[in-house]
Each structure stands twice: as structure tokens, then as C-alpha cells.
């Protein structure tokens, strides 16, 4: 398989774009998709100071890498949750990336260690306060992210959520009609009066597979292993279902999520419903009197054609 653009040997195929790319053209594609996301959602400009939330996984490290290579001012925050070996390995990967890639480009890594402030890792903490680990974790990460952003006066916080994350979350919310959450699924949440810094998701146009490929191709050493608490999360099931649909019919995830964003962006469409529109256009068929939008209804047309052929 050859690169759709430059005809050299391709390293990755992108069925949803009907394309395959070599490393150079793929990197260009990734930067271009992030550029479009930043522009279409008015996320930030070249002078803004960005704080990226990094976990040591492929998405957040790829995000930091892309932003720095595109010339943005992006520092990062890593929260060490104190989950045994998982936290040790992910912390080491983040530090290695910060030293070898980010620091030479002038970027800084902030680290918050849960154990240092709370006296225990996230699992013990959750047990102490009788809350699920992941919700304790979410609260801590959100809090620390916002605190560092405000303290160091960052203009915007950026997270590595990708197309799969957003599509899976949308599916979950739609399945249970959690309409109150749909408003909050925008990739750009403006700063709020109650002291939340602005929050953006510049990777929402890229799939998980594309981000993993970007990391492998650019030798970004990320943690492949999952957080041990993530097992059995419903998100995984939604992602699996969406990926089966995607494999059968490439472009499904993007159509689902980006279509949702388009609909949200448009001001309320004309107040007439489909039913009202139909009503306005219907009149009796000139042959049989049943309602139709044409002169002769489709049933009568069909029967006329059948009779013509029969004779």
C-alpha cells in the first residue's frame, strides 16, 4: 500500500478518509486535524499559555508533542495517583518525555503527588471516605488541574480526549437521554464565573488508533498498560461497539460526534417539524384521492406502470 499523497510506502491506512499515509504525510495529517479543531472551536492562539493534563498514556503525550511542534506555548501537569506500579511507570514515562522532548522546546512539567498531600494513595483515600476510586480520582484530578491553571495563570487547560472518548461518552449519554450532560460535551468549555479555567479538547477529531500510531511513529514512549482501576468500565463497552460499527462502516464515529457538534452549533432550526412540513405540502392524489405531495401518488404511478408493462 502506498501513501495517498506522495506515493512512497504507507505505514498506516485510514479507512474513514479513504487514505493511507507515510510517516511524514501522516504527521502532517495529525497536525492539520488538530489545527482545524483549534480553529473551528476557537480554542486558543499562539500567544496563549496552555496547560496540558498528561497521564503518561498515548493521547495526552501525543497532545503535548503536537502542540509544542505546532509552536504553541504548552506546559503540562502530571498527577501521581499513588496506584503502585502503574503510577511509577507512568510517572517515569512522563518525566522522560518532559526531559527529552518538552524541555528542549522550552516547556515545563508540573507534578502533583496525591500521597504527599493526602498521606495516602488514591485507593486508600477512596476507601477511607467510602467513595468509588474513580470518582475520588476524578475529583482530585479536576481540582489539581484547575488549581495549577489558576495559580500559574494559564489561559487554557487542554486534555487528551480523542474522538473515541467523545463518541463513547455521547453514546452513553444518548442511550440514557442524559440531556443535561449533552450541553457539556463541547470540546471547548469556556471559563466560568465560579472559578473554572477554560478547558479544551484539541484531539476530538482524531481516533484512538490514529493517536497510538502517531505515538509509535514518533517514538513517544507511552504506558500501554491500563490503570488497574479502569477494568470493566462501561466506556470500554461503548468503544468496542462503536469500533465494530466503524470497521463495518468507516466514518461512523466521526459522523456521530461531529454531527452532534454541528447540530449544537446551529441556532434552533426552523420551528416547523417534519410532520408540519408534510402537512403543508400534501393534497389529494388526482387519481385515487389519497394524500400525496405529487400530482399522482406513488401507488397510483406504480400501478399505472405495472398495467402498461402487462399490456
Amino acid at each position: 500500500m502506498n501513501c495517498t499523497k506522495c506515493k512512497t510506502r504507507a505505514v498506516i491506512d485510514l479507512p474513514r478518509h479513504n487514505a493511507a499515509f507515510c510517516k511524514g504525510c501522516f504527521n502532517y495529517y495529525v497536525h492539520d486535524q488538530v489545527g482545524r479543531a483549534i480553529k473551528s472551536e476557537k480554542m486558543f492562539g499562539k500567544d496563549d499559555r496552555i496547560l496540558v493534563a498528561v497521564s503518561g498514556g498515548k493521547d495526552s503525550l501525543a497532545l503535548w508533542d503536537v502542540l509544542l511542534k505546532m509552536g504553541y506555548k504548552a506546559d503540562a501537569l502530571y498527577v501521581n495517583l499513588g496506584i503502585g506500579g502503574y503510577s511509577e511507570v507512568s510517572h517515569a514515562k512522563v518525566v522522560k518525555f518532559a526531559e527529552t522532548v518538552a524541555a528542549p522546546l522550552g516547556a515545563v512539567l508540573h507534578v502533583h503527588t496525591v500521597e504527599q498531600e493526602a498521606g495516602a494513595g488514591i485507593k486508600e483515600l477512596a476507601m477511607l471516605i467510602h467513595r468509588p476510586t474513580c470518582s475520588t480520582c476524578g475529583t482530585i484530578k479536576r481540582y489539581q488541574f484547575n488549581r495549577v491553571a489558576l495559580e500559574h495563570k494559564y489561559d487554557v487547560m487542554a486534555t487528551g480526549h480523542n474522538l473515541d472518548d467523545e463518541a463513547a461518552r455521547l453514546l452513553g449519554n444518548v442511550l440514557r437521554w442524559q440531556e443535561e450532560y449533552l450541553d457539556k460535551q463541547s470540546p471547548n468549555l469556556p471559563a466560568s464565573l465560579d472559578g473554572f479555567a477554560k478547558k479544551v479538547k484539541p484531539l476530538f477529531r482524531l481516533s484512538e488508533r490514529e493517536l497510538a500510531a502517531y505515538s509509535v511513529l514518533n517514538r513517544i514512549d507511552y504506558i500501554v498498560e491500563e490503570c488497574p482501576m479502569a477494568k470493566g468500565a462501561r466506556t470500554l463497552l461503548y468503544k468496542e461497539v462503536l469500533n465494530r460499527l466503524e470497521t463495518e462502516s468507516p466514518g461512523t464515529k466521526q459522523a456521530f460526534y461531529c454531527g452532534f457538534l454541528d447540530k449544537q452549533r446551529k441556532p434552533e432550526s426552523s420551528p416547523t417539524t417534519m410532520a408540519e412540513k408534510d402537512q403543508a405540502m400534501l393534497h389529494p392524489c388526482s387519481v385515487c384521492q389519497q394524500p400525496t405531495t405529487a400530482d399522482v401518488c406513488s401507488y397510483c404511478k406504480m400501478m399505472a406502470r405495472a398495467k402498461a408493462h402487462a399490456s
Binding site: E208, R209, A212, V224, A233, T235
Partner: protein, 72 residues
Amino acid sequence: MHIQLSHPSRTVEIKGPKKTKDLLKELNLVVEAHLVIRGDELVTEDEMLYDQDQIEIRPVISGGSPRLTSPR
């Protein structure tokens, strides 16, 4: 060929030559959720893999926070 899989970490032996696409199908793995790496290079779906190749099939899906509905 030697194939390294993750989640859980294990290796399997499969007879080559074989197209990447067919290898995934044989292992019942969805293309959209995996990358196939030979040595340390990514390969596309139509690439032919041989017995002497070192192959890693890397899952790309992460679970993340299960709080689907978290507002921020």
C-alpha cells in the same frame, strides 16, 4: 511467526506468510482497535507477514474514567 499480545500480556505462534488483515481476523481482533507493529515499524492492512517476523499487536483502546456523565 511470533506474536506479542497485550491485555493480558501473552505470545502466540502463527504460521506465515499471512496478510496483516487476515492475521487480525484469525485472532478475532477488530482493525479499528489495534495497531500491528513489525520490529518497531507500523505496517498497513495489506502488508505480508512472514515466519521470521517479530510482530506486536497493540491494543489502542483505553478505558479512562468510567464517569461518562461527569460535567467537567
